[in-house]
Symmetry: C3
Subunit: 343 residues, 3 copies
């Protein structure tokens, strides 16, 4: 919903420097912001972005002096103010399915909270518990005894297998599968015998999961997606993986069985992680990398197999200099041959 | 439907050199064709493929003299003739769902064209408009106000979110998701706040999208798949991506947000493309490559990060020669040591 | 179901060395086993794992002398005994949908065996044949004339296109698509004309397919997944691919059109294979590799493009030694310069 900067300033008790009648239509980070957006500058070390942002207005701390020609909204706490502004400009849009559709198939043995929306042809099996204000879109399947919290949105054609637990304020995009069997076999004389996967999956609060992901249930115990972690589309999470809180796992990443991911980890697009390793807190793995062993916290890794990014880039530069090295070696051979002739 | 070469010749006003009673059961490119196929030779530069093709007959221009022992069908315009032959041999097979199934759930507020087929348990929400002769298979979800053109086929378990626009003659294979939220967050004090994705997706005419793909809606504005572009299975298209016309995007490719792809671009299997870059017209990116910056038009790129293919292959050859270089360096050291001893 | 070791010993006619009252709750391979698991040692060459396993008990041959402090269950044939123990500890759990749900949409022209379970909102079209004891979960689509064997489980939101054939004892996880069109076009003057994909898919007995996979139908003839082969999540199988028996194809692998995979092949996570090649029996391709040509049997390949793993690792070591080589070259240049000065 478009808002004037003046309206926004009232909500966050801020002061406008510049055009208070400017109309704000969206929110974005300082680098991605376009005209019409409001953004924020929480950390003075990003001050350099201020003159370059295309945002119509920037929320800053009261100590920021130089407006760099930008319209500013000065507040006590820019981060906190920004989160308020997000929900002020984009109030929750309630056009999701509401009520239980006549063509939904909800077991009488399922317990629904208040104001639950269940779309047509969604199937909710017995023993399920679904919290207040949660929405389940058409054609979903919610298996026996699954528990889903409050204020959660599950888009169409999602499959949630039996016994899975999903928290509050979770968003699961269409086509995703939660609780499929882990990939576990014991091979006897060439035949692969299935190891029953008797564990489950726990999706903690505030998680968002993209479209067409697959999150396998644990062999024993549970596969966990930690609070506030966000998965992009087509992410594969194998059995017994545990991710920490507030991770960003970008599209087409695959994490193999029993691997543990710390808090605030970023795995960029198409990264693969082997099984039974640990990635430390705050670590970033760059796109297309392959993690083959434990990665310490606070590091940046790159490559296949992944190395610390500085080493990977140094080696990459050496590879790029191979034609020069090859030529240098050739030149040197000739000089040595001449010396040998002289002696 | 099997056809004799004589029947085909009549449809395209062509002349047969060879067995006019040969039975043709399929169509294919000149390299892939098998016995029973008809293929075509539009460009004389591919003449070398003529003797090697396994096709039963080849459509060629009237100027082609050397039959190379093959059965030829000479026509004025081989390309045009071939497209006519494709639909003559494979006339549209009308075994798709027809009519609105009694178990479909179509909102009274949706507008259906003539001869629309909607399968059982498909859900079409209010405000949708669906063009003539379009088919929606069972268990699809078509969200509020989505617009779908004519002669389009949407296979089972596809999810089309609200407001998405899909053109004419489009094919979307089973399990695909169109219009899921883009992956966009603003991180404030470690917590990822969702940036509402208020744009949409536009699928232009003649597009084909494989199974289990995900095409995200734009943050603002629209994500676009250009006219005639074909996506294989499990392709990920992030928010605000715009692809040109007649691209081929092979299986498991991922394209990050706000990237622009030109016309006639080929992205081979498992390619990844970072966000906010441009790939020029007619460019080919080879399998498994990672595109990390803009790519000019008419180029062929390969590697992670991708380079022009000739440079990539040259460097690869140097890497393969490393054992030799290592040995050469060792030999040289010995020769220098001898020289030093002598002096 | 937890069992004492004594109960297990009776089933396999074995003798316990150690605590026969130990309670076993699961099965696993010797390296992955945890407390409460039973595992097995079939091949004496894995004897070294015995002291290290965390399993509560180990099934061994009668010739194993050294218990290494472990509780053993001695039997005539450890492999055979182990497979019996798997089904003894995890008897088939019959909580799947049973009977045809009132909200399922089964064509009167479909033939169901005895004891078939079909969930709510599953759609089974005319001409389908479904074998005894097979279970189809809610919201699946089974297209016209598809044939599904006995004792097969198809989880929710799976799409099986027309004419596909699926064997006995098959498991297909949620969201998977079997029988989508292959990605085949003939490009005429820049426009991609669809090549009709008139073949089918055959899934042989004892196959397991993960969540959100896509297996394309053949252009002609058939795409085949061989008996006993297991696919993890999000695997892409293109048209006319034929896999052998007892392969393990790990998550996010993509196999391009008309490629043939031998028996007992392992393709690790995120591997890509080009079209029209053959991978020999018993070969292992390591994670993230790209196969660009035929691979002989009994080999281990790694890299992009993939090479025999020993060569790939050797080259990788050379690349890692590039900084040293660079320094050695520099030192040598200085020594040669000195020699030149002296002469």
């Amino acid at each position: 919903m478009p808002r004037t900067l003046k309206e926004i300033a009232q909500v966050v008790s801020g002061d406008v420097t510049g055009d208070a009648n400017a109309v704000i239509t969206g929110v974005a980070g300082i680098e991605d912001a376009q005209e019409g957006d409001i953004t924020f500058l929480a950390n003075p070390k990003y001050q350099a972005f201020l003159p370059r942002t295309r945002a119509t207005a920037v929320i800053v701390g009261r100590d920021v002096r130089d407006a760099a020609g930008k319209t500013l909204l000065r507040v006590d706490n820019p981060s906190l103010a920004f989160t308020r502004v997000v929900s002020f400009i984009h109030p929750q849009d309630m056009r999701h399915p509401s009520g239980v559709h006549a063509a939904a198939v909800v077991s009488p043995g399922a317990a629904l909270g208040r104001n639950v929306g269940i779309g047509a042809c969604a199937v909710v099996e017995e023993g399920c518990r679904i919290g207040d204000n949660t929405v389940i879109y058409p054609n979903c399947f919610i298996g026996r005894n699954a528990v889903i919290g409050s204020n959660t949105i599950i888009y169409s054609n999602v499959s949630v297998r039996e016994d899975v637990r999903i928290g509050n304020n979770v968003i699961i995009h269409a086509g995703t599968v939660v609780g499929s069997d882990g990939f576990g076999f014991v091979t006897v004389d060439g035949t692969h015998h299935k190891i029953p996967q008797t564990g489950t999956v726990v999706i903690e609060d505030d998680v968002e999961i993209g479209a067409n992901c697959a999150i396998d249930r644990a062999r024993f115990d549970k596969t966990v997606i930690g609070k506030g972690t966000k998965l992009d589309n087509m992410v594969h999470i194998a059995h017994n993986v545990v991710t920490g809180k507030n991770c960003l796992i970008v599209a087409q990443v695959g994490i193999s069985g029993s691997t543990t991911i710390g808090d605030n980890v970023i795995l960029a697009g198409q990264v693969g992680v082997v099984g039974h390793v640990t990635i430390g807190n705050n670590t970033i793995v760059m796109a297309k990398s392959g993690i083959s062993k434990n990665v310490p916290e606070n590091s940046v890794f790159y490559g296949v197999p992944a190395q610390p990014v500085n080493e990977a880039k140094k080696l990459h530069a050496y590879v790029n200099s191979l034609p020069k090295m090859h030529q240098a070696l050739k030149d040197l051979k000739e000089r040595v041959a001449k010396l040998e002739t002289k002696l």
